[in-house]
């Protein structure tokens, strides 16, 4: 086990709360002392992971909007241009893409891309709380396994 710095960086601590499932990911991927001393070493920074994490929140919101949009979606561009849900969803996806690009500057694609799967976790939780869906055992197992998977992945990318 490598030694970790006592004080954590500026970004994630104010952003991510301990009871958040992603907290463990960020803890696991805390840059080591060597990483801070050699900022140009390849690898994935904690900041990148925090950015992708924000992406997943935007993505979840966008998916719910797209779900509404899909009821009216057609190949008729004039109709789509007046589909408010589609336009809002696309705007959120714009923000999602921007954050993703910023994250990819300092991170491995194979490390950051699968973290997007946290979107499923948020969509599922949102569908329970906002859409009034009944909690479902399969889904609960699924989102738990995803969170564990992302945590394991975060460990692999740590340098």
């Amino acid at each position: 086990m490598r030694e970790r710095p006592q004080s954590h960086g500026r970004h994630s601590q104010t952003l991510i709360l301990p009871w958040n499932p992603c907290y463990s990911v960020l803890r696991l991927s805390t840059p080591t002392v060597e990483r801070i001393e050699q900022p140009k070493a390849p690898g994935t920074t904690r900041q990148s992971i925090a950015l992708v994490f924000l992406c997943t929140l935007l993505g979840a919101a966008a998916q719910i909007l797209f779900k509404r949009a899909s009821a009216h979606f057609s190949l008729n561009l004039v109709e789509d241009a007046t589909n408010v849900w589609l336009i809002l969803g696309l705007l959120l996806y714009g923000g999602f893409t921007l954050l993703m690009v910023l994250a990819l500057r300092q991170g491995e694609l194979s490390m950051l891309y699968p973290i997007i799967s946290l979107t499923y976790v948020w969509v599922t939780l949102l569908s329970y709380t906002m859409l009034g869906e009944k909690p479902n055992m399969m889904k609960n197992v699924g989102i738990t396994v995803i969170v564990v998977g992302v945590a394991v992945l975060g460990r692999g990318g740590r340098r």
């Binding site: 797209f66 949009a69 899909s70 979606f73 696309l90 996806y93 893409t97 993703m100 690009v101 910023l102 994250a103 990819l104 500057r105 491995e108 694609l109 194979s110 490390m111 891309y113 699968p114 799967s117 499923y120 599922t124 479902n136 055992m137 399969m138 889904k139 609960n140 197992v141 699924g142 989102i143 738990t144 396994v145 995803i146 969170v147 564990v148 998977g149 992302v150 945590a151 394991v152 992945l153 975060g154 460990r155 692999g156 990318g157």
Partner: protein, 115 residues
Amino acid sequence: MTPLVKSILLVFIGGVVGSFGAVFLKLGAEKLTKSIWSFLNIQLAAGVALYLLSTVFYILGIKGGQLSVLYPMVSLGYIWTLLWSRLFFKEGFPPQKFIGLGLILIGVVFVGLGG
């Protein structure tokens, strides 16, 4: 072609297109400088275009199919992306990446089954 096969095919294509979108976004991200104009590069434009295209495929696919069948197809996108990361960016693959991704794929399938 039955509607289900058509949906599966659309989502499958969407996943492949989207994974290439991610590759181009990564290529474009590496070209960024401190100038805001560096966002206007051909790789980022290609990445965004591919993402939009994959979204169209997904929406058309999801419209006509059951999510429980389609989610495993969506999660295939992660495998493509991993493959391209290896091929194009020579990224390292410690066992944790495979285990982590395997768990994510299983999780996505379960979420789909619960849908």
